[in-house]
């Protein structure tokens, strides 16, 4: 597909180019024309904002120890996932039996599974991303009117542990320190709606003027660059624009949000991979994130509890979750790997705690959980064999009524990209088909769409 400065391709063809996996140079004005400019008004009576998030945990759960399928689409959470049971009926769909169709490509362990689920494409190269991850499309759709287009968080202490990739392979690194995250959201750029009459800040406007001046630097650099470099530069200027918007919003009166309040200052420091530290970091980051959502500082987030091939460990032991998933012997009486199962349980306990925090934020006639959709994904189904067949995923939340919940949705061997397509459509991303080769699909999962 060609894209020159003067022709204006249709939205469909540009999106196809984008989603088809090739790096394409997209001029900034095209970008603006493509997407609706909605969601910027915060007048009283405006509809409650819709939010989207991804939650990632590594190493799945022991097959057979996640849910018990009941009649029809009914199910319940058991064993390792039991902590989620209180949320199931009203909020959670469980997707089973969806496959990562490889089309003969080699499956890279702890990689292919989540890349395929998030990008709709099976990776053949193991460097760079074959396509942007789906959360960035949702962020383009939902995140235009908020101070932060999206927020990426990792409980592992490593900023590289973020699975959000934008255009031109741009990696959205994760926040890892609760204190620094707090300072970023609720520090000097935050306008507390409860803090009385609002005064626009001259300095914010001046910072904006700096960024406007930066954009005038474009032309000189672009003269001799190839397509890939132009795309990278576009991404850079997109990022400049993001910060400009962030400042614009900071400079405006803050939205009045029912449950917005300043959180307590968290402790400093990023964790090591000792499980107590990971869990404490997860909960601390989640707490601030929940309030960031309540204060409408962002509407899209990506929270990672443990990375693919989770390297989390218990203090004083020599084996990480990952090593245990391979080397721990099966308990002959119980029929599963006890320590591995314990780590899996901790993953879901963390998710349950996050959901509890979201459920405590009142909004209108419900809570945050009613106004968002979380897509929880992992890298493998049976971690011992690195299987990418039937990788489980979950949606959590009612998305303002757009999504039905409480169902065990059976994939029957179909492509896992159907989950991603469905989620994007539920969020209003104008995409009718998604994915490449055997993961290409135009069939959303109608059963969960309201």
């Amino acid at each position: 597909m060609t894209s020159t400065r003067n022709s204006r391709p249709t939205r469909r063809s540009v999106l196809r180019g984008f989603l088809g996996g090739a790096a394409v140079s997209v001029g900034l004005p095209l970008f603006d024309a493509l997407l609706n400019d909605n969601g910027t008004a915060y007048a009283a009576g405006a509809p409650l904002p819709l939010r989207f998030g991804t939650w990632f945990w590594g190493l799945g759960h022991t097959p057979g120890r996640g849910i018990e399928a009941l009649s029809g689409r009914d199910y319940r959470f058991i064993a390792e996932c039991a902590a989620l049971e209180p949320f199931r009926a009203r909020y959670i769909n469980y997707f089973s039996g969806f496959n990562t169709l490889l089309d003969g490509a080699a499956s890279r362990v702890h990689y292919t599974g989540w890349v395929a689920a998030k990008c709709g494409t099976v990776p053949v190269k193991f460097s760079g991303m074959p396509a942007p991850t789906l959360d960035t499309f949702v962020a383009d759709q939902l995140g235009r009117g908020t101070r932060f287009k999206s927020l990426e968080l990792s409980s592992t202490g490593n900023p590289k542990d973020s699975l959000s990739y934008g255009a031109a392979g741009s990696h959205n690194a994760a926040e890892v320190s609760p204190l620094k995250f707090y300072q970023r959201i609720f520090g000097s750029g935050f306008r507390d709606p409860a803090s009385g009459p609002f005064e626009p800040d001259a300095r914010t406007l001046l910072r904006q003027s700096v960024l406007s001046a930066v954009t005038e630097d474009r032309k000189d650099l672009e003269r001799v660059l190839g397509a890939a470099d132009r795309a990278r530069l576009d991404q850079y200027f997109t990022s400049v624009r993001e910060l400009e918007k962030q400042l614009e919003i900071s400079a405006a009166a803050p939205p009045s949000m029912e449950s917005c309040r300043l959180p307590a200052t968290p402790p400093d420091g990023a964790p090591t991979l000792a499980i107590e530290e990971v869990q404490a970091a997860h909960d601390a980051l989640a707490r601030i994130l929940v309030l960031a959502l309540a204060c409408d500082q962002t509407r899209v987030f990506n929270l990672l509890y443990s990375q693919a091939a989770s390297e989390i460990r218990a203090r004083g032991t020599t084996f990480t979750h990952h090593i245990l998933s391979h080397e721990e012997p099966m308990d002959v009486n119980l029929g599963y790997k006890v320590q591995t199962a314990w780590f899996n349980e901790q993953s879901f306990a963390a998710l349950a705690r996050f959901l509890t925090m979201l459920g405590e934020v009142r909004e209108g006639d419900g809570t945050l959980l009613d106004h968002l959709l979380i897509l929880a994904q992992t890298d493998t189904s049976d971690s011992k064999t690195h299987s990418v067949i039937g990788i489980p995923s979950l949606t959590i939340g009612r998305a303002g009524g757009r999504v039905r919940a409480g169902m065990n949705v059976a994939g029957n061997g179909g492509p896992i990209s159907r989950v991603g397509l469905t989620v994007m459509q539920a969020m209003g991303v104008p995409v009718s088909e998604w994915g490449t080769r055997s993961l290409r699909t135009a069939e959303p999962l109608a059963e969960i769409m309201a």
């Binding site: 460097s127 990696h171 959205n172 690194a173 406007l205 700096v210 850079y236 910060l243 004083g316 690195h386």
Partner: protein, 545 residues
């Protein structure tokens, strides 16, 4: 001497000269890389701020890391882009730096002029300051328009807030987030064919390669005067940079990239199993490797292969606790030589290698063996296949065996052995160093058997590995490959193997010393070669569809 003899002698001499000229390797010409657009790495960013503004300027916070996609981060920098949160960090850091520059404690040193009035704009002083700073940050003089934009931003700011110096911070912020600063661009000379880099682009290549920082004012000015457009000017500057003590920064950056030192960030060990290993140890282990490398290769100008059997290193008090040796200087660093016959010989036996390539709670022969293969020998080890059968690990007693026994199935099972035979025999030799790099003679109660093999050479202990590594032909070849790739910020596609082979021969001829290798690279026109990418027309693309 009879005439015939003289004639024969002369012919002999001529023949010899001809032979020498013909037989000595001739440097092949590289096709040239496409013009690069490289994002600054965090180290480069910090070095530049320090060089331009001085070490008293604190850089609060970290930048987003450049993900390593190929063998070198230097190459990935040519593909990296700036995400929204990444740019936010550049903006925040830039503002912090700008505020410190105008701070009364620093402004006398850093701002060359004074405004007529401190509470109003002063475009002349702003222009002088921003022009000087801009030249150093953009690595070339600012264009009229660029300077005007910066001055206007500063002036409008000063007027708005009624403070010249605060206004100046907005001008400085502009420079510090500009793509001209954050991206190192290979600019081309106008109207020149075949395409050639501008003097400024050459200066940047040279400076970032040898010093890992922005070109200094002398180098930029040489480019302005056109001196870098011809060979002798370029050679003169290259020699100046090579002779400078600042060469150590470039060499440190090179080996940090080659040996994947970004893994030290967040390197942590289990505090119960290895209580002696704390963040200070991790930091010092990295520093120890770098000091060892630069001492041997720069200070002592030694054969590169000596790095793999040397007993000389540097100790800090934190490392003394890990190595269990007394240190001479309990506050700083002191040179330390392991006694003859000691297990420690070569950088592959130092904590920065064995502890970095281990699990948090135990050692790993496989990971260490793989690291030796990939980082030191440039040999790719395939990824584990997705359909690995782990049922062989189902015995409960397996977890309490020494590593060699626990990993036996790696070498006996057919699907595992193919790759593990490449890695495990190397790693077993390093088992005398536990997961934190501490010395040990027993593992799980059994005496450690450190015998192994490397590509046909067998050995009974870790000293044998040191000997085998230092003699392995891939050791020097791998360094040449990496250094060249790092210098050009390109990989095999755009980077010519014949040049690497030539340089490898030069390397051998010069006794495997690093300085002559660096000099050969920066003294070669290949280092500055560029080629424009072939631009496809729309019609050609259509026909490809």
């Amino acid at each position: 001497m009879p005439a015939s003899t003289a004639r024969r002698l002369a012919m002999l001499v001529a023949a010899a000269a001809f032979c020498i000229a013909a037989c000595a390797p001739k440097e092949p010409q590289v096709r040239g890389n496409r013009p690069q657009l490289r994002l600054l790495t965090e180290d480069q960013y910090r070095n530049i701020i320090q060089d331009v503004f001085g070490p008293q300027i604190a850089i609060g916070g970290a930048l987003d890391p450049i993900l390593r996609e190929e063998d070198l981060v230097a190459v990935s920098a040519g593909r990296a882009t700036v995400s929204a949160s990444g740019f936010e960090k550049f903006a925040t850091l830039g503002e912090g730096i700008a505020r410190q520059v105008v701070d009364p404690a620093n402004r006398d040193l850093l701002i060359p002029c004074r405004p007529r009035r401190a509470d109003a704009r002063d475009d002349a002083c702003a222009a002088e300051t921003l022009g000087r700073v801009g030249k150093l940050l953009y690595r070339r003089p600012l264009s009229g328009a660029e300077l005007q934009r910066a001055v206007e931003t500063a002036g409008a700011g000063a007027a708005r807030v009624g403070d010249f110096f605060e206004g100046l911070t907005y001008g400085l912020s502009l420079l510090l987030v500009s793509p001209h600063f954050l991206f190192i661009a290979d600019s081309l000379r106008d109207e020149v064919s075949p395409p050639a880099l501008t003097g400024y682009a050459k200066a940047a290549r040279l400076s970032f390669f040898l010093w890992n920082t922005t070109p200094d004012e002398a180098l930029i000015d040489a480019a302005t005067r056109g001196e870098l457009d011809d060979r002798s000017g370029l050679e003169r500057e290259a020699e100046r940079l090579l002779k400078s003590p600042r060469l150590v920064n470039g060499v440190r950056a090179l080996f940090s990239d080659m040996l994947q030192f970004e893994k030290f960030v967040g390197l942590s060990k289990d505090t119960e199993i290895y209580p002696a290993f704390d963040p200070q140890v991790a930091q010092d282990a990295r520093e120890q490797l770098l000091r060892t490398i630069t001492w041997h290769l720069l200070d002592q100008d030694e054969d590169y292969r000596r790095l793999f059997d040397t007993r000389v290193t540097f100790m800090s008090s934190a490392l003394g606790r890990i190595y269990r040796v007394p240190v001479e200087d309990t506050v700083g660093w002191s040179r330390y030589e392991f006694p003859a016959g000691d297990m420690r010989a070569g950088i592959q036996t130092l904590a920065g290698f064995v502890a970095l390539h281990s699990h948090p709670g135990r050692s790993s022969p496989t990971i260490r063996g793989r690291a030796v293969r990939e980082l030191l020998l440039c040999q790719k080890v395939p990824d584990p296949p997705a359909n690995t059968d782990f049922s062989k690990f189902n015995e409960p007693a397996a977890t309490n065996l020494p590593a060699r026994d626990r990993l036996k199935v790696h070498s006996t099972d057919a699907t595992c052995a193919g790759c593990h035979r490449l890695t495990d025999p190397i790693g077993f030799a390093l088992e005398n160093f536990d997961g934190a790099g501490q010395p040990r003679t027993r593992d799980q109660g059994a005496a450690i058997d450190a015998s192994g093999a490397l590509d046909g050479t067998e050995f009974t202990d870790v000293r044998g590995l040191s000997g085998a590594l230092s003699e392995h032909p891939s050791i020097p070849a791998c360094l040449v490959q990496r250094v060249t790739s790092y210098a050009l910020a390109g990989t095999g596609e755009s980077f010519d193997m014949p040049w690497a082979n030539y340089l490898a021969e030069v390397f051998r001829r010069d006794g495997y010393r690093l300085r002559p290798l660096l000099a050969s690279i920066v003294g070669s026109p290949n280092f500055y070669a560029v080629e424009l990418p072939v631009v496809q027309t729309a019609a050609a693309e259509e026909s490809h569809r």
